[in-house]
């Protein structure tokens, strides 16, 4: 049964690489995107942390900034 699934009547040498290439491409794109997103979130946290009280209060008044910060805290 397992051998049949792997050999696929001799076409396994084509079928498995096609599926593997697809899944590896998915994983690569996902992890690259995740890394880029984390990098931007870290940059945001660093910049936010270096603001003085007045500027931080202004920045915190925007709901999207609060949302970004809450997402960073969850990481």
């Amino acid at each position: 049964m397992i051998n049949e699934i792997f050999s696929m009547n001799g076409y396994g040498v084509y079928v498995w690489p096609a599926f593997s290439f697809t899944l590896i491409s998915f994983a690569t794109l996902y992890f690259l995107t995740k890394l880029q997103l984390l990098k931007e979130q870290k940059k945001f946290a660093y910049k936010f942390g270096s603001l003085n009280d007045e500027k931080a209060r202004v920045a915190r008044s925007q709901s999207i900034n609060k949302e970004i910060l809450s997402n960073i805290l969850k990481i």
Partner: protein, 235 residues
């Protein structure tokens, strides 16, 4: 009209959605892989080589769909002067590019057992390669040009010019003699594909669509955070 789609308002949704989309994608992909690799029948002519269809065809469909959306969003950003459209298009492009590469590579692998060659300058394959080149130009333009107004114009022109190629890809099998067979799935008429193969194909298409949605959401969130990073610099 587009105020409810403003980044500030939708970020609360787009930032939470990826984890749910990822879970759903894993479930749908697992079912799709089981169907495509084990449960679906082999073809009477192509035998098990037909299973490559379950990754090749959805990848081609999604890459064409995404490029059509890029063109529509580009036209929208020209007409309504809405920069959010350009941001959405920019976030959609990477998954579209990867899908066009998957379609080309898996098509090449499928070509060897069915046509006896890895590559042929057939109308469908060549037009698909041109689509991948348009995706590369689109993504490169975002990297090369730093001026926002300029890059939105250039990428929009690339998307609008590139979309001319989409109907060429679709009808290339009818207009020219190609190695590809005519379309097996028609919305308006009867399908020539058996239901036992159509079901795994639909499940895999749903999985691929979910993956492109996942990447889009992550990229879009990243773009919004980039914008907010610049906003913090200006404070």
């Amino acid at each position: 009209m587009f105020k409810s789609f403003e980044p500030n308002k939708i970020f609360a949704i787009t930032s939470k959605a990826p984890k749910y989309v990822l879970s759903l994608f894993i479930v749908v992909l697992s079912i799709g892989l089981m169907e495509a690799l084990v449960l679906s029948p082999e073809d009477y002519k192509q035998s098990d080589a037909v299973r490559i269809m379950y990754v090749h065809v959805p990848a081609a469909w999604i890459s064409l769909g995404i490029f059509s959306h890029l063109a529509l969003l580009s036209i929208g950003s020209f007409i309504f002067k809405n920069k959010n459209f350009a941001l959405i298009a920019k976030s959609l492009a990477p998954s579209g590019f990867v899908f066009s590469i998957i379609a080309l590579v898996t098509g090449s692998i499928w070509g060897k057992p069915t046509w006896g060659t890895w590559w042929a300058w057939d109308a469908r394959i060549t037009s698909m390669l041109i689509l991948a080149l348009f995706y590369s130009m689109y993504l490169l333009a975002w990297r090369i040009y730093k001026n926002k107004e300029q890059v939105i114009k250039i990428t929009s022109i690339i998307a609008i010019l590139g979309v001319i190629n989409v109907p060429i890809i679709k009808y290339s099998v009818d207009w020219w003699n190609t190695l590809h067979q005519p379309a097996s799935i028609n919305i308006l008429s009867n399908n020539s594909i058996h239901i036992s193969m159509l079901i795994p194909l639909c499940i895999m298409t749903a999985a691929f669509a979910l993956f492109s949605l996942l990447i889009f959401l992550m990229k879009y969130n990243m773009e919004l955070i980039k914008v907010k990073n610049k906003g913090l610099d200006r404070l």
